[in-house]
């Protein structure tokens, strides 16, 4: 690898101040530090530093996303064959079909998002932050497969600029950028983000058999009663219509396992959010009301974006509550909100996105009270002495 290092060092002056490409320095630095951990040494404070850095943190999340992504590819193909009656496709063909469909979405997401990040880093004179590596992978996974690429591009630009960079970049944002992108499309182009056509490749372009419904379980439960829903097993495995990465609870659980094993994802949030949703579901089962309240509580955990949101969205350390006590409260309230929105809001069959965004806004308030409790303990101690 030394020839690569030599080459890199040779072109470095071009990107330094006064060099021909000085405006591309953040771009150069981003790639150079991607290839080689820099030779920077500690100058103050602790002489040794942990090997952990932002790149590795983000890489772990991306690895954790892989099962959901791979299953998503397969499921795109599977749903397509079901809708169009292509019963003779082998699994590998379904997978490749989905992969070819998903790849452009991922590329567009990264090109637009990282492009903006590079520019922002250059303007600020910072190094590129790795936060978008995860966001850029999350966005295609929470979109319907049939979303046009230009819409995807606009939503990414909106999310990165207004959701993140105006606040100061990764670490400073209030809302989860990936969900900001989805919410933007959801309210700007509702026709392409909900209904019974968008979840299956090809249906929106016409074609497909008459009367075939590609509705998600959540929509089915609302429109046709929950006896029309797929079986719990199907919803758990994920062979149902839905956003690309959200359908398979199994694949998401593998990701959750990776996040918890490495300690990158917060178990406090995952646990309390699951318990919050389950508790609220059980409460509604007991109270009754509309037909929707009668859905078995555990259905809420396996349908829609709940699992994906719990594992990958609500746990975003920047936008979640930051204190350990706050995480329990934040998670539980998010879980409760998911179920409330699903059951009582006729306009939105899916509540996970809105619940998490709402709680993102509330998280600093939760932390405020937790930190204030610590302050009060300290002041009380002072009076005692």
């Amino acid at each position: 690898m030394s020839f690569l290092l030599d080459k890199m060092k040779k072109i470095e002056p071009l990107f330094k101040k006064g060099g021909r490409f000085e405006k591309l320095y953040s771009f150069y630095e981003g790639f150079a530090s991607f290839l080689f951990v820099p030779d920077k040494v500690t100058t103050k404070g602790s002489h040794i530093r942990d090997h952990m850095d932002m790149k590795r943190t983000m890489t772990v999340v991306i690895i954790a996303l892989m099962p959901a992504l791979l299953f998503g590819c397969y499921n795109i193909g599977l749903q397509h064959t079901r809708a169009f009656g292509l019963n003779d496709w082998p699994v590998i063909q379904m997978f490749l079909f989905g992969f070819i469909k998903l790849l452009p979405m991922i590329i567009v997401s990264y090109l637009v998002g990282l492009g903006i990040e590079f520019i922002a880093a250059q303007i600020r004179g910072h190094e590129i932050s790795e936060g978008y590596l995860v966001t850029g992978m999350l966005i295609p996974l929470i979109m319907p497969v049939d979303v046009p690429l230009w819409m995807l591009a606009i939503s990414v630009a909106f999310a990165v600029i207004l959701g993140k960079e105006v606040f100061g970049g990764t670490g400073m944002n209030i809302l989860n950028p990936a969900l900001t992108a989805r919410a933007f499309l959801f309210f700007s182009y509702p026709g392409r983000m909900s209904g019974d056509k968008v979840w299956i490749e090809g249906l929106t372009k016409g074609g497909g058999p008459d009367g075939f419904s590609g509705a998600t379980p959540l929509a089915l439960a609302r429109l046709d009663g929950f006896d029309q829903m797929p079986s719990p097993m199907e919803m758990f495995v994920g062979t149902i219509p839905g956003s690309v990465g959200e359908t398979s609870v199994v694949a998401i659980l593998i990701g959750a396992f990776i996040l918890l094993l490495t300690g990158v994802g917060s178990w406090r949030i995952m646990l309390s959010m699951t318990l919050g949703a389950l508790g609220m579901g059980l409460l509604l089962n007991a109270v009754g009301g509309n037909e929707y309240t009668q859905i078995p509580a555990y259905y809420h955990l396996i349908m829609g974006g709940f699992a994906f949101g719990t594992v990958f969205m609500a746990t975003d350390p920047v936008t979640a509550a930051q204190t350990n006590t706050g995480k329990y409260i934040y998670g539980a309230l998010t879980g409760i909100m998911v179920v409330i929105i699903r059951v009582f809001n006729p306009a939105y069959p899916e509540g996970t996105m809105l619940a998490i965004l709402l709680m993102n806004v509330m998280a600093p308030l939760i932390d405020h009270y937790v930190v204030n409790a610590s302050i009060r303990r300290r002041l009380k101690r002072g009076r005692r002495v």
Partner: protein, 450 residues
């Protein structure tokens, strides 16, 4: 036996290169130095100029705000050089050792003296700066009577010397005299914290006029600041003092003999040294003789103190005023191909994202590479895991960065020193200079409160 305080939070860094328990005699050194950076916040006024002859105990410089606090020469000789840095800021006073004249400050039994007399002796002899106060972790102000005095008799920092071994080889007979002097200085107690097993040194066990405590748990359980937090925390308006246990001996010796003599035992440790042992030396002495012929190959960093809080010095540099060890580790000025993606078999880490977490390996060689670039704070909940105090580290840091005095006060700035946050800095994936931020917060408090 005293009750045991169990701490669970913290981290023991498995750094290779512990010192072997063999004590070597003092190597005669000709270069001595007193560094100003050892006393944060100090504005000094020089009392000597280059070429002046000094004795052991002669005043080199004093505090501008409290002129009675004097800093003295550790040896007799000639002031060779007064080193200044950028903007002529004082860096170090270098003394060439010559002769062996020393000032006699007179011996006395501390219990027969009044508080003012004990204070005066410590101030006049230049022994005073061994006392540091919380809040702020700076040299103690002589005009305030401390609520209590705290001493830690174990050190949990990476590769730190075994203080039991150190104490069993020093002049333990001076300990009681030192404690007596200290007990004269406070209306409260002199607290002495030991590790879970308790000390095996008879001279410590039999001490009178002290209150014993025991602590178990990983680093920073041995940090006196953490111990204070759990024994009797510092509240607004209170002041406590802390000092190194070897300086209790130095104080005892001062009262017993009348001379300024801070001879101490230090550990020479770290993967950059071949022959790691304990050495007799004194603060200010050059480390050249100790290091001679013992350094490993390659580009190394010599640190006076431990790897988390020590100061980088040259191979001829002098031992810091408060340090009890010299650590040598390899510099990390190399590029690592895709290092962030490697499985990390040989990489020690706090984080479980490295395969090394699964291995029972005991020791790792760590270098000075930053292993990443500066980022904003992203991860949460982990800084708290290595700080065994009821303090929210990131909130405190953000209050400091925002310059919010009241919030800093409420979040616990009075209780902390940069050393307590060293592990937060070590594990931080965003590579924030946390210790520097804490010190700047303390400096801001000192400025605002006066």
């Amino acid at each position: 036996m005293s009750t045991l305080i169990r701490l669970r939070k913290g981290l023991n860094i498995k750094l290779a290169g512990k010192a072997e328990k063999i004590l070597l005699p003092e190597v005669p050194e000709t270069r001595f130095g007193v560094r100003f950076a050892d006393f944060p916040g100090l504005v000094a006024r020089l009392d000597v100029k280059e070429g002046d002859k000094v004795m052991c105990g002669s005043v080199l410089f004093h505090d501008k705000a409290f002129p009675e606090i004097k800093y003295v020469s550790p040896v007799s000789g000639v002031v060779r050089k007064i080193i200044r840095g950028e903007k002529r800021v004082l860096t170090e006073v270098v003394i060439g050792q010559e002769g062996s004249e020393k000032i006699d400050f007179g011996s006395a039994a501390p219990l027969s003296l009044a508080r003012e007399q004990v204070k005066e002796k410590l101030l006049n002899s230049g022994m005073w700066p061994v006392l540091r106060q919380r809040p702020y972790h700076i040299v103690a102000r002589p005009d305030i009577v401390p609520r209590d005095i705290f001493i830690s008799v174990f050190d949990t920092a990476p590769l730190a010397p075994d203080l039991d071994y150190v104490m069993s080889n020093t002049h333990g007979s001076y300990l009681q005299t030192g404690i007596d002097a200290l007990s004269r200085l406070t209306d409260g107690k002199v607290h002495l914290s030991q590790d879970a097993e308790g000390t095996r040194v008879a001279e410590i066990k039999n001490l009178r006029n002290v209150e014993f405590h025991r602590f178990s748990g990983p680093h920073p359980a041995g940090n006196v600041g953490v111990q204070i937090h759990h024994i009797a925390p510092v509240c607004r308006g209170e002041v406590v003092w802390t000092l190194d246990v070897q300086d209790v001996i130095a104080i005892g010796r001062l009262f017993a003999t009348g001379f300024y003599d801070r001879e101490r035992i230090i550990a020479l440790a770290g993967p950059g040294v071949l022959n790691r042992k304990y050495h007799r030396t004194r603060p200010g002495a050059s480390v050249a003789g100790i290091l001679k012929g013992k350094l490993a190959e390659g580009n190394l960093r010599v640190i006076s103190g431990n790897v988390l809080t020590g100061k980088k010095i040259s191979t001829e540099g002098s031992l810091g005023f408060y340090d009890n060890m010299i650590t040598v580790i390899p510099e990390g000025d190399y590029h690592e191909f895709m290092g962030w993606a490697a499985p990390g078999l040989k990489k020690f880490s706090y984080w479980r994202a490295f395969v090394s977490k699964l291995l029972p390996k005991k020791e790792y060689i760590l270098d000075t590479n930053l292993h990443g670039g500066h980022r904003a704070f992203v991860v949460t909940g982990d800084y708290e895991n290595v700080l065994p105090m009821d303090i929210y580290p990131v909130y405190l840091l953000k209050a400091i960065l925002a310059g919010d005095i009241e919030l800093m006060e409420n979040l616990g700035i009075y209780e902390v020193a940069e050393e307590d946050f060293a592990l937060c800095e070590y594990i931080d994936p965003s590579k924030t200079e946390i210790q520097e931020i804490i010190r700047s917060g303390i400096n801001l408090m000192i400025k605002e409160m006066n």
